[in-house]
C-alpha cells in the first residue's frame, strides 16, 4: 500500500477538518447497518461515499444530517460533537433522493424557506434567492410551481435550497439516481461546478462508480456497513485496497490461486498449475494461503494466436466466447483453459480494426505483473 500513502496529502491541521466521523456505528434491531466507521473530511472537499445498496452509506449520511442518532461513536462538525444537536440546529444543506421540494410553494419560496426559518430580513431573502437561482441557472423561473418544472430544473431548485443559507456542509443523497443518463451526466458536472464555485464541503452518496470517479476529490467505498477504502478517485481505481473495491469500481477479472512466493511488493501466485507474477496489494497475504489476482479489463492486451505480445510478463492462450461492440470499444469475453476455464473480459480499443476477432477464434492474452493486484481471499 506504499503507493497509495505516498500520494495522499499530508495530515490536515485540526481547524481544516469540516467533518470528523469517529467510530460511528448504527444498529437497527439486530442489523448492524454501520460498523465503527471513521474518517476525516477537510474543508472544501467533495467526498463520495460509494457502495451497493444496503452497504450503510445512506445510514451514515442520515446520521451526519441528524435524522438518525448513532448507536455508537461520535460525529464532529467543525470540531463540535453533534449527536445532541437536532437536524434543524445543524447548518447542513441536503439534496434528497426524491428531492422533497415543498409542493405547495413556488421555486423561489422553496429556496427562501431556509432563510425564512433563520429569520433573515425580507429584503435580504429576496436578494439571496435571486442570486442562488441564478447560480443554478434558473434565473426567471422563481415564480414557477414545482410541478411546472422539468426534472432537471427541480434538481436545480433542490440544490439552490440546500445552498442558499451557506451551510457548513452539503449532503447529496443519490439525487441523480432517477435521471436518465444524459441528464445525469450533465448534472454531475453541474454539481462539480457549483461545488468548486462556492467551495462548500460536500458529501455525496451513490452506487454509481462512474459518478464517484467523475465528481469527487475523495472516495469512500463501503460494503456491509464497513468502510473498505478511502482514497482519491485515481488511487481507488489504480490501487484498490481489497478484492471488493477492485470488483466494485471498474471491470475486473479475478484469477484464483495460492500464494507461492512473496518478495517485497511482488507476489507470485499459482493458479491451475501456472505461476503468475503480480503486485502484493494486501498486507494479510501469506505464503500458501488462497488468494485472488485482479486484472482490469483494459490492462489486458489481446493478439491473434500466433501473434506476439512483447514486453508482457504473463501471456496465456484463450478462446473468444463473445464479442460485444460498444461503439468506442469492443469487449471480448475470452475463456482461458490454462487458468481453469476462467472467463476474462478484455477491452480492445484498436484504432485500426474494430472486431478483429469473432466467437470461436483462438487468441493470446497478456498483461504486466504490476497490473495484477493480488488480494488475500
Amino acid at each position: 500500500m506504499g503507493v497509495v500513502d505516498a500520494e495522499q496529502p499530508a495530515v490536515e491541521p485540526h481547524d481544516r477538518i469540516a467533518v470528523s466521523v469517529k467510530d460511528v456505528s448504527m444498529v437497527f434491531g439486530n442489523v448492524h447497518a454501520v460498523k465503527s466507521a471513521s474518517f476525516d473530511l477537510p474543508k472544501g472537499r467533495f467526498l463520495t461515499i460509494l457502495g451497493p445498496s444496503g452497504s450503510g452509506k445512506t445510514t451514515l449520511l442520515r446520521m451526519i444530517a441528524g435524522f438518525d442518532r448513532p448507536t455508537g461513536g461520535e460525529i464532529f462538525i467543525n470540531g463540535q460533537p453533534v449527536s445532541a444537536v437536532p437536524p434543524h440546529g445543524r447548518a447542513i444543506g441536503m439534496v434528497f433522493q426524491k428531492l422533497a421540494l415543498f409542493p405547495h410553494m413556488t421555486a423561489a419560496e422553496n429556496v427562501a424557506f431556509p432563510l425564512k426559518m433563520r429569520r433573515h430580513d425580507a429584503r435580504r431573502i429576496l436578494e439571496k434567492v435571486e442570486r442562488y437561482l441564478d447560480l443554478v441557472r434558473l434565473g426567471g423561473y422563481g415564480n414557477r410551481r414545482i410541478n411546472e418544472l422539468s426534472g432537471g430544473q427541480q434538481q436545480r431548485v433542490a440544490i439552490a435550497r440546500a445552498l442558499v443559507f451557506e451551510p457548513d456542509l452539503l449532503l447529496l443523497d443519490e439525487p441523480l439516481a432517477a435521471l436518465d443518463r444524459k441528464l445525469r451526466e450533465e448534472m454531475q458536472l453541474e454539481f462539480r461546478r457549483i461545488q468548486k464555485e462556492l467551495g462548500v464541503t460536500t458529501i455525496n452518496v451513490t452506487h454509481d462508480q462512474r459518478e464517484a470517479l467523475v465528481v469527487s476529490d475523495e472516495i469512500i467505498v463501503m460494503n456491509g456497513g464497513s468502510i473498505q477504502q478511502k482514497a482519491r478517485p485515481v488511487d481507488a481505481y489504480r490501487a484498490p485496497s481489497n478484492a471488493f473495491v477492485a470488483n466494485f469500481i471498474g471491470v475486473t477479472n479475478f484469477v484464483e490461486g495460492r500464494v507461492v512466493e512473496l518478495a517485497g511488493s511482488r507476489a507470485t501466485i499459482e493458479a491451475n498449475g501456472l505461476h503468475l507474477a503480480g503486485l502484493a496489494a494486501d498486507a494479510t497475504l501469506a505464503g500458501g494461503k488462497p488468494c485472488a489476482g485482479a486484472v482490469r479489463a483494459e490492462q489486458i492486451r489481446v493478439a491473434p494466436k500466433d501473434g506476439h505480445l512483447d514486453g508482457l510478463e504473463t501471456v496465456v492462450d484463450g478462446l473468444v466466447v463473445d464479442c460485444i461492440f460498444e461503439g468506442e470499444r469492443v469487449v471480448y469475453e475470452i475463456r482461458v483453459p490454462q487458468l481453469g476455464d476462467v472467463l476474462m473480459r478484455v477491452f480492445d480499443h484498436d484504432p485500426e480494426s474494430h472486431l478483429q476477432f469473432g466467437p470461436g477464434d483462438a487468441v493470446r492474452l497478456g498483461w504486466n505483473a504490476r497490473d495484477m493486484h493480488v488480494f488475500a481471499k
Partner: protein, 266 residues
C-alpha cells in the same frame, strides 16, 4: 359492430335510469316549490314565487334555519382541529395501536344512528344541557368525524416523509415544520373534510330529533314537525333553499380543492 352497438344501448339505458333516479326527488321538490296552488303537487299547479315569499315571512322556519347553521358551524369548528390532528397522526406517525384507534374512530359509522342518538341524549340529559344548541353541534361532530378523518388521512398519506426531514434540514423546528409544511400539504383534505362536516351537520335529522326541544329545533326537525300536520308548498320551498345551500358548498369545494379528491381517495 352490432355487439358494441347493443353494449352502448344497454350502457346508456343504465346511465339514463340512474340519472333519473338520482335527480327525481330534487326535480319534484324544485317543481312543487314553484306552485301557485295551496297544496303540494307535481307537476306544479301554475307558477309563482309566493311560497318563497311565505318562508321569508315565517319566522319559525327562518329561526330553525339559523339554528341549523349554528349547529353546522359548531360541528365544523370542533371537527377541524380534532379531525386534522387525528388524521395526520394516523397517516404519518407510527402511533401505538394505530389500527385499533382507526377502528375505534370508525365506530360511529357502524352503530345505527338511532343508537348513537339515544346514547348522546342520555349523556347530555344527565349533564343537564339538553335543549341547548351546542350539544347538537358536538353530537353531529361525533357521529360524522370519520368523514373528516378519512378526508385528512387521504391527503396526508400521499405526503412524502422526506418533506418534514427536508424542512428540518432547512432549519425548521418541529412546530414550524407542522405549520409551514405538513399543514399546507394536507389542506385540501382539511377543506374537503370540513365542508363535508358542514353539510352533514346542516342536514342531520335523526340525532337532532332526539336532542332538540321546542326552543332549539333545527330545520330538518322543523320540516318534519310541519309535515305531520299539513303539507303545504312552503316546505318544498324551504327544501329548495336547503338543497341550494348544499349545492353552494359543493361548488365551493370544487373551486377550492377540486372534486377529483373524492375520485382519487380510496
Amino acid at each position: 359492430m352490432t355487439g358494441s352497438r347493443s353494449k352502448s344501448v344497454v350502457l346508456w339505458t343504465f346511465v339514463i335510469a340512474a340519472l333519473l333516479m338520482l335527480s327525481a326527488p330534487t326535480v319534484v321538490v324544485l317543481g312543487a316549490s314553484f306552485t301557485a296552488g295551496n297544496i303540494i303537487t307535481f307537476p306544479p299547479d301554475g307558477l309563482s314565487l309566493k311560497w318563497y315569499g311565505a318562508i321569508a315571512q315565517a319566522s319559525d322556519l327562518r329561526q330553525a334555519f339559523v339554528r341549523s347553521l349554528i349547529v353546522a358551524t359548531i360541528c365544523t369548528v370542533v371537527a377541524i382541529p380534532v379531525g386534522t390532528l387525528a388524521g395526520i397522526a394516523l397517516a404519518k406517525y407510527r402511533v401505538r395501536f394505530a389500527r385499533s384507534i382507526q377502528i375505534y374512530l370508525l365506530l360511529p359509522f357502524t352503530i345505527p344512528l338511532i343508537g348513537s342518538g339515544i346514547g348522546l341524549m342520555l349523556v347530555f340529559g344527565n349533564a343537564g344541557v339538553l335543549g341547548k344548541l351546542w350539544p347538537v353541534g358536538i353530537a353531529c361532530c361525533v357521529i360524522n368525524l370519520p368523514f373528516m378523518i378519512w378526508a385528512v388521512t387521504a391527503s396526508a398519506s400521499n405526503l412524502s416523509p422526506d418533506l418534514e426531514l427536508a424542512a428540518a434540514n432547512c432549519g425548521a423546528p418541529p412546530l414550524q415544520r407542522f405549520l409551514y409544511i405538513t399543514l399546507p400539504a394536507v389542506l385540501p383534505g382539511v377543506i374537503t373534510g370540513s365542508l363535508l362536516m358542514f353539510i352533514l351537520a346542516l342536514n342531520e335529522f335523526l340525532v337532532s330529533l332526539l336532542l332538540v326541544d321546542a326552543r332549539s329545533v333545527t330545520l330538518p326537525v322543523q320540516i318534519y314537525n310541519s309535515i305531520r300536520s299539513i303539507i303545504t308548498p312552503d316546505l318544498a320551498a324551504i327544501s329548495v333553499v336547503f338543497i341550494a345551500c348544499a349545492a353552494f358548498v359543493i361548488a365551493l369545494l370544487d373551486r377550492l380543492v377540486g372534486l377529483d379528491i373524492f375520485l382519487k381517495s380510496k
